[in-house]
Symmetry: C2
Subunit: 222 residues, 2 copies
DNA sequence: CAGTATTTTACGGAAATCCATAATCCGTTT
DNA sequence: AAACGGATTATGGATTTCCGTAAAATACTG
């Protein structure tokens, strides 16, 4: 069983629940951070003191505050933690049910478990902790398990996402081309943009641009 | 202090936290529903037994399940509960921070308190319960208190929302006009649609239709 | 290096949307 | 019933987006 655990979760109501889970499985050495930055610093400090954490339980979405933050959300946090301490086990605990994002967490940050916040997620979290600590297998909530089976057809790159974001911000296609030209983005011709858009529409089966942006938002891509 | 309380909250991790709050303020007679429908039935049954609840603490967003539901979210729940039992006190407890939705809860469902789920929301919830039970005043989390000051410029009606929904589903303007003609919607001319759209864009300071739909989605209107 | 294939960019017409103005409808007033 | 005001609808042109094809650039091959 895990010896030393850190929780990254901003909602106090939820972190209480998580702490209860840890107590139930007899983990007493745990810390709790309400900010990603803070969690990251704690993890780094623990490494330097030669007392590293062996489990991170992290939420994905964090409320934005007045204060400056380096790490804005759980996705970034788990990514950076994975790079910092490759052997740590990571469980994402979130309401996020978009397969696109879940899959990329397993693929990119190589998380060890994903527990969907839900009606019985407390029990599930216990189960996930147990499975990961004993067998080292990955855990994913049954409701979203299909996310991993999706064929990784996500040939959507950074530029595509930039385009979608600009569109959803009300930038016209001409303006986007201008922006791309003045920044370093290549493929900065009108044709290139139109081509990408039509590819995206095709891919997401969108009737038009409004529809496309709407779908992208629903999927959590932007 | 409140004698009998019902909680509508689907996430088990959070309802644990709420229950803790109630215990802290010495409320022992409380029930908990994970479904809006269930909460509504309990409230109605309590009225019929002449032992009505005097406080409802409700989340706003509920996970959708396989099962059929009549009441899909907290907004509808508080609305129906308010109609059923006008004297019950209602606190919404949610991560929702869109002023549009918060304001409409106070205006339409006449909720008594809004507590934003956040870093210190447990304490806030206690405070809200205390204020509402003793003075009967309304409570709103400071971070979103500005929502109520907004001039009630919300002259957005059902038809506007229908239009926005159709647009986000990829329906073209011409098609929307056709749909409106075949259904009973009045204002079913191309001009009328264009006028409404331009009014909406003006209102939301949207550069174009894509932007408009994007904003509407962010605000939780559609 | 010539020739071919592939990708990228340019171009232009069609379609959709945007926007201002004109016409029509409808209820009220005199 | 004529005159008026406000709201709705129609109209047409400007702008933007859409989409197919042509030209140019680049990569690949013998």
């Amino acid at each position: 069983m895990f010896k030393k655990v850190i929780i990254a979760e901003d909602l106090d109501a939820i972190s209480l629940g998580i702490e209860q889970v840890l107590k139930d499985v007899n983990i007493v050495d745990f810390q709790h951070s309400k900010y990603c930055d803070d969690a990251f610093l704690k993890i780094r400090a623990a490494i330097h003191k030669n007392e590293p954490y062996d489990l991170l339980i992290s939420d994905l979405s964090f409320k934005t505050d007045h204060r400056e933050v380096k790490i804005a959300n759980g996705d970034e946090l788990v990514q950076k933690v994975r790079e910092l301490q490759p052997d740590i086990k990571i469980i994402a605990y979130s309401v996020e049910d978009k397969s696109y994002r879940i899959k990329s967490l397993f693929d990119n940050a190589e998380i060890d478990g994903f527990v969907l916040k839900g009606l019985t997620s407390i029990e599930e979290l216990k189960k996930a902790i147990h499975i990961i600590s004993t067998s080292g297998e990955k855990y994913i909530s049954p409701e979203v398990a299909s996310a991993l089976q999706e064929k990784n057809n996500y040939e959507i790159d950074d530029i595509d996402i930039k385009i979608l974001k600009h569109l959803s911000d009300g930038t016209s296609q001409d303006e986007i081309v201008e922006i791309f030209k003045t920044s370093d983005v290549k493929a900065n011709s009108k044709s290139a943009l139109e081509k990408r858009l039509s590819r995206l529409k095709d891919f997401f089966k969108a009737n038009n641009t409004v529809h496309l942006v709407s779908i992208a938002k629903d999927m959590g891509i932007i």
